[in-house]
Amino acid sequence: MTKTKQQKLKDFIINNGVIIVMFILVIYTGLTSSNFFTTGNLMNILMNMSSRLVIALGIAGCVITGGCDLSAGRMIGFGACIAGTLLQRMDYSGKFFPDMEPMNVFLVALIVMLICSVFGAITGFFIAYLSVPPFISTLAMMEIVYGINMIYTNATPLGGYVKEYTNVAGGKFLGINYLIWIALIVAAITWFIFNMTRHGKYMYAIGGNAQAAEVAGVPVKKNLILVYMKAAAMYGLAGFMLGAKAGGVSVQTGYGYEMEAIAACTIGGVSVTGGRGKVSSAFIGVAVFELLKVALQYLGVDANAQFIAIGVVIYVAISLDIRKYVAKK
């Protein structure tokens, strides 16, 4: 059955509805407000997007295997706080470890990712070996990580970072902030993992049909642990990035980001039922979210009403997206 031009156009609009609407909104905002289409604003949007993208890519992995990750937000806060305590200036009055020299920035990023990935591995262990549903396992880890972070920091806000750390956000290479470069590199690595490695293929298989994956000789349990470990490392990195940009963090940093990231993934086309989703899906989802927020700000929409707009976009986007997969009886 060949489709007519009209049908093809209709399919195109349904399949890309949200992106088209976003595009129109952005153009409209750009034409009505004078300083929307400026390099500075664009950079700012990209900077905001960069840590969100890293989070979304981590969560995308979990969602592709048919899971989710509620611990992301608290894990980000934990990562941000660890980085903060290790990278304060010696002359900062409220220094957390007053006698400790600030560490190397790269080393701190690695330490943060490593610590978070240990917690991710525990989440994954409960999911894979003890069959705790991902929703519950990550919920439990969310509470645990928050508690540990409170105890670790005594709930005091952190600030007074060394220049090397804030430079991660402010510094530029080829005119583009390091923060954006980090996000791009993470996206490239994630793309490579999803498409060019066994682990990536196994993730899709587990999400598509876990039983069939087991029968086909996929080490389902090990791969599940790896997915949650990898995701947690990415949340840690995102926390590190947020700290660099903000210049100060608290235990509340990252709170609620997991929901936004899950929403972004699904808007971009990562299927919540598992087995479907790409790096570009996470990117599109994050872009839609950030652009929507900024455009609404520029248009002078009430800050509280923006939440309603975001909710509506989620409804519309997912309803349209799910149409592609719901089998017609």
Binding site: M196, T197, N209, A212, P219
Partner: protein, 502 residues
């Protein structure tokens, strides 16, 4: 009163790639048990699902008491007094018997402006209906705590309580014990006396002879004929069901079994009701058939060998070397492959492409620098298989869910061909696929045997079992009850006698 209680005329139904029903008819005399017979895949269940409104038929008419009716969903069917006891029961196991019985039509009492569920009436009524089918268990018991036979009587009580005039039984006895079958027949006889008309789908000849008044036979989605049950012998029924010369269907085999490659010794499941003390040997170039009735634990045995199910004791030897299999990976490393029975449940990845469906178990073998997938080589092997097995698809990127059942099965076969096992276990390899694809699967099997591979084939289709296998093992209730290795002994009667030992 009309001559027939219910008549189906000219029913047609197609699924992608398969014509499941082609101009089928069925006429039920009032107050009779009508057996609907045919091989697996003949379209019996499909026909009943069309009648019950689960499937939408492409063409055809339904007459109830001589009047034309429309059935678009199960709810409408029930309003017309048609009820179905499903092959796979579809209850809510976590809720009580009463709640299951009245699901969707709970008795209501008014509490001021509120409508509340009248639990007292519900349980009293449940008790009454259970008595009606002579089953007296607690209406408040959790349904999941009952045996399958008891759950089935709940379904029947449900049908009776809905004043059903026509009740469809879709293979009700496939998982029942003898006592439970007796109880079912007693209920059916009661219902018949009350004037209820029943359709009874079963493969078991002795049951048909005992309970049925009329027999309708279907074959490959077409109507063969209707006869009074008393006038047909078992052999006549089988001839009508099979309806073709067996020799034409199965391609000739050009290999002879060689040396022993695999040996299974006293393998027992951790569950006492599953496979126990099973021993057999398998030779190179041999197709070893496993026969038996549904529930004989053949699938469980194979899954035990492949490391999906837990084994309590017993040994598996491959080329004389003892294997330790804890996970499918161990079995695959030892050179064993398994094509599972439940293609949709644990075979295909519906949302993935053909390429990924083939590649999933061989990605290990196609790596550059130890971890980067070699897409070029993978594409080549997938492409070769698509050509070799003539899988009908526009490209290897097509989602497997868009293929017909036969082509999906060929993709799964490709997965294991790519993996190149020495022993390939095929569990019901041709279930639910059309005749053409079946023949192609048979040719692949013969081809593998010719290459010296050993194949274990579980089949519930007697003709297929006897037509393809060099040797047949028969199981019954978890035990290996017989082995037939002489060609002259390979008869349906012999297999059946082993399959019904307990």
């Amino acid at each position: 009163m009309a001559e027939y209680k219910l008549e189906l005329k000219g029913i047609c139904k197609s699924f992608p790639g398969v014509r499941a029903l082609d101009n089928v008819q069925l006429s039920l005399r009032p107050g009779t048990v009508h057996a609907l017979m045919g091989e697996n895949g003949a379209g019996k269940s499909t026909l009943m699902k069309c009648l019950f409104g689960i499937y939408k038929m492409d063409a055809g008419e339904i007459y109830l008491d001589g009047e034309k009716i429309e059935v678009n969903n199960p709810d409408e069917a029930m309003k017309h007094g048609i009820a179905m006891v499903h092959q796979e029961l579809q209850p809510v196991p976590a809720r009580s018997v009463g709640e299951n019985l009245f699901l969707g039509r709970f008795p209501i009492k008014k509490f001021g402006p509120l409508k509340l569920i009248d639990h007292k009436t519900m349980y009293a009524e449940t008790e009454r209906w259970l008595k009606e089918v002579k089953m007296d268990f607690d209406p408040k018991a959790q349904l999941g705590s009952l045996s399958i036979g008891q759950m089935q009587s709940v379904e029947i009580a449900k049908a009776v309580s809905q004043q059903a005039k026509v009740v469809i039984f879709d293979e009700p006895t496939s998982s029942l014990s003898d006592n439970e079958v007796e109880a079912l027949f007693r209920i059916m006889n009661d219902l018949r006396e009350k004037g209820v008309t029943m359709v009874y789908i079963s493969h078991k000849m002795d049951e048909i002879k005992r309970i049925a008044d009329d027999i309708t036979v279907m074959r490959d989605g077409t109507y063969v004929g209707t006869w009074p049950a008393a006038e047909m012998t078992t052999d006549q029924i089988i001839t009508k069901m099979v309806g073709r010369e067996l020799t034409n269907v199965y391609p000739p085999k050009e290999s002879t079994p060689g040396e022993v490659i695999m040996e299974v010794k006293n393998l027992s499941s951790i569950h006492s009701k599953s496979f126990q003390n099973v021993s057999f040997t398998l030779r190179k170039g041999e197709i070893l058939g496993f026969g038996g009735l549904v529930g004989a634990q053949r699938t469980e045995l194979m899954e035990g060998i492949f490391g999906i199910r837990n084994v309590a004791s017993g040994e598996i030897y491959m080329n004389g070397k003892k294997l330790k299999i804890k996970h499918p990976i161990d079995a695959m490393n030892a050179g064993i492959g398994l094509i599972t029975e439940d293609r949709r449940g644990n075979g295909i990845f519906g949302c993935l492409s053909i390429k990924d469906n083939v590649g999933i178990s061989v990605y290990n073998k196609f790596l550059k620098a130890g971890f980067v997938l070699n897409h070029k080589d993978i594409n080549k092997i997938v492409d070769d298989n698509i050509k070799k097995l003539s899988i009908k698809t526009p490209s290897m990127k097509e989602h497997i869910a868009n293929l017909s059942g036969g082509n999906q099965q060929k993709v799964i076969v490709s997965r294991w061909l790519a993996n190149d096992p020495d022993v390939l276990i095929m569990d019901e390899p041709t279930r639910g696929i059309d005749v053409g694809a079946k023949h192609e699967i048979y040719e692949i099997m013969n081809d593998l045997a010719k290459q010296g591979k050993a194949i274990i084939m579980i089949s519930s289709e007697m003709a297929e079992l006897l037509g393809m296998a060099d040797r047949v093992c028969v199981m019954c209730n978890g035990k290996l009850t017989g082995e037939i290795d002489k060609p002259e002994d390979m008869t349906q009667a012999k297999v059946m006698s082993y399959a019904t030992q307990f």
